[in-house]
């Protein structure tokens, strides 16, 4: 009976020997490559530090102006522009300006990076079923392996701070944009693709002239999810020493300060909504044909 209800697993000793063997090897690997890796990422670190310092040092009225300007450029919509500026003013009034700037610095870099890397991978994935079957499980691992698990090796390799934080955010936030780019391209109408083929469009011309534009609804759903994922990682990132809104949230948790957590959490949400609305409205503008407003 015991045999049936308890799975006949490897012996305790075997398992622990195996675990130790893995850990030992990884530790060696860390020692061997850690420094090289750190050196490799150093320029990124320098940039992130510079960018954060820039945001921190810039007088807040200028930041508000820039944010308003970017929102306007992206969305061309007064409601969104004013909403963004008001959100930042509120964040300032409630004393979260500095943390927000730190978070803004790392998250905007992370999101842009994820999108810039994710879309090409998604395109690659849509090219063949083989590619798809190779990339899909990698994405599955990236999304479901608990961040805590890879935080250990990442910290062992790169220490704590912005770079490992950025990596952790990207590991988690890239998959949606990759998947939805792939899906969107695969859903493009076969008749339209046939027409492009018939005119001798090269793979490149098909991609940028037909597939990507027609996949935009899905690609922007991916952008939305990537933004959401990136911002949901703010707290995790701050667990490995990234400054920003995650820090007070962690403090709030351990002290059960509901209001503190809520306020900072809402600041994160506000960033997410601003990022999302600006990018989505930009996406809508790229898809003018769907609302049939061609004649202006």
């Amino acid at each position: 009976m015991e045999f049936l209800t308890e799975f006949p697993s490897l012996g305790r000793a075997d398992l622990s020997a195996m675990r130790r063997w893995i850990d030992g090897n990884f530790r060696e690997f860390t020692r061997a490559t850690g420094e090289a890796l750190e050196a490799f990422f150093n320029p990124l670190l320098k940039f992130l530090v510079w960018f954060e310092d820039l945001l921190q040092a810039t007088p807040w009225p200028i930041i508000l102006l820039v944010i308003g300007g970017l929102a306007w450029l992206g969305a061309r919509d007064w409601k969104i522009t004013i909403g963004s500026v008001v959100a930042f003013v509120l964040i300032g009034v409630f004393g979260m300006w500095e943390d927000t700037m730190s978070t803004l610095a790392i998250i905007s870099v992370a999101t842009i990076l994820c999108i810039a890397i994710g879309i090409p991978i998604g395109i690659l994935m849509s090219r063949s079923d083989r590619m798809q079957s190779i990339i899909t499980p990698i994405l599955d691992v990236m999304q479901t392996i608990p961040s805590f698990v890879y935080l250990i090796p990442v910290v062992m390799l790169l220490g704590i701070g912005k770079v490992p934080g950025l990596i952790a955010v990207c590991i988690y936030a890239i998959p949606p944009i990759v998947r939805l780019t792939n899906l969107g391209i695969r859903l493009v109408d076969a008749d339209v693709m046939e027409a492009a083929d018939a005119f001798g469009a090269s793979p490149r011309q098909k991609l940028f002239g037909v597939q990507v534009p027609l996949a935009l609804p899905n690609i922007f759903a991916g952008v939305n999810q990537t933004i959401m994922m990136a911002l949901s990682m703010v707290v995790i990132a701050s667990m490995i020493g990234v400054q920003g809104l995650g820090v007070p949230v962690l403090r709030a948790i351990s002290n059960q300060y509901l209001a503190l957590g809520l306020m900072n959490g809402l600041a994160i949400v506000a960033l997410a909504i601003i990022f999302d609305r600006v990018s989505q409205t930009y996406g809508k503008r790229l898809q003018a044909y769907r609302t049939g407003r061609g004649n202006d």
Binding site: R12, S16, R19, R20, D23, R27, T30, R31, G34, E35, L45, V49, F148, L151, I152, V155, M156, L157, G159, I160, G161, K162, A237, S238, M239, I240, G241, V242, Q243, G246, V247, P248, L250, R251, A252, I253, S254, N255, Q256
Partner: protein, 312 residues
């Protein structure tokens, strides 16, 4: 003497896991309780206990982080501390890696080391020295922040680095120790990390500057501590806390909890055992019960001890 259902908090660090599992085995086998283990972290568990009286027992509650609400709850009577020292040999303080200690034998106190921020360059600003504090929310976070001011460390060229979490703190220390890099920061014992890496705790030259300074300033949030004075660490406090529900249900094992004290060296040995074998709390509990009969049999009556021994 009915025992019934008992839930025990299993906190997510090694010593707490061990204690929770030892308690579980003894209550189940010795007292006939129906034990469930509930995983959690210090503060979520504490909140649940004070608000919902669930779980019943927190074997190893580090009270730094929850000092105020805990004393409020005690006054109210909703929580009861059965044991205010279930582990001996607790220690908190500022540590450096062994490689560094060897290289710089002359820097043998905190104060001496504080003059050399250049030896611990901070990755994000190399002109500064990095002092790794506690993750946000731990009691030690407040303490470190206040001591940082008390020792004028900012002027001396230090940055107080927030590691963000236990994982961050452990990782940064492990990475440095593994690679023989310099590392200076807070840690505590008994923990496997300290033993495993042979970390070196630096003594303070300053004397302990009195309870008033500590409790009235150093242990509080920064804004409530106007003028922190340099001081050595106070003694650390861990309690075994139970809910009043548990006491009302008869508190069968109350005597056991009161008597249960793990000597620091034994605890350290167990932690090293766990670490080396990557053992679970359950594995370690059996190991403890089998190899340290001399200790745990003193915590319970003979009949109970016999029952537990039978079950092993």
């Amino acid at each position: 003497q009915e025992c019934g259902d008992v839930s025990i908090a299993e906190m997510d660090w090694a010593s707490a896991e061990l204690m929770a599992n030892v308690d579980a085995i003894i209550l189940e086998e010795g007292y006939g309780c129906d034990v469930s283990l509930i995983p959690g972290a210090t503060t979520t568990t504490f909140a649940s206990m004070s608000e919902k009286a669930e779980p019943d027992v927190a074997p190893e509650l580090w009270i730094n982080a929850v000092r105020d609400p805990l004393s409020a709850a005690k006054e109210e009577g909703s929580l009861v501390a059965l044991n205010d020292g279930p582990i001996t040999g607790l220690g908190e303080g500022w540590w450096v890696t062994p490689a560094f200690a060897e290289e710089h034998p002359e820097l043998d106190t905190v104060e001496k080391l504080l003059e050399r921020p250049d030896l611990f360059p901070y990755a994000e600003d190399e002109s500064k020295g990095a002092f790794v504090g506690c993750p946000a929310g731990w009691g030690c976070q407040l303490v470190n922040a206040n001591l940082f001011r008390a020792f004028d460390m900012e002027e001396k060229g230090w940055v107080l680095v927030d590691p963000g979490s236990a994982a961050g703190l452990d990782g940064s220390m492990a990475k440095a120790a593994d690679r023989g890099e310099p590392w200076f920061g807070y840690y505590w014992s008994p923990t496997s990390m300290i033993g495993k890496y042979n970390m070196v705790m630096l003594p303070f030259e300053a004397e302990f500057a009195g309870r008033e300074n500590w409790d009235g300033c150093i242990a509080l949030a920064e804004q409530d501590c106007q003028d922190p004075q340099p001081t050595a660490w106070t003694v650390s406090e861990v309690e075994t806390v139970v809910t009043d529900d548990f006491m009302e249900k008869g508190g069968v094992a109350a005597d056991y909890f009161k008597a249960r004290v793990f000597p620091g060296d034994v605890m350290n040995a167990m932690l090293v055992f766990m670490n080396e074998n990557q053992a679970t709390g359950e594995d370690a509990a059996f190991e403890f019960l089998m190899t340290h009969e001399d200790i745990w049999t003193q915590w319970v009556g003979e009949d109970v001890a016999a029952k537990v021994k039978d079950a092993l």
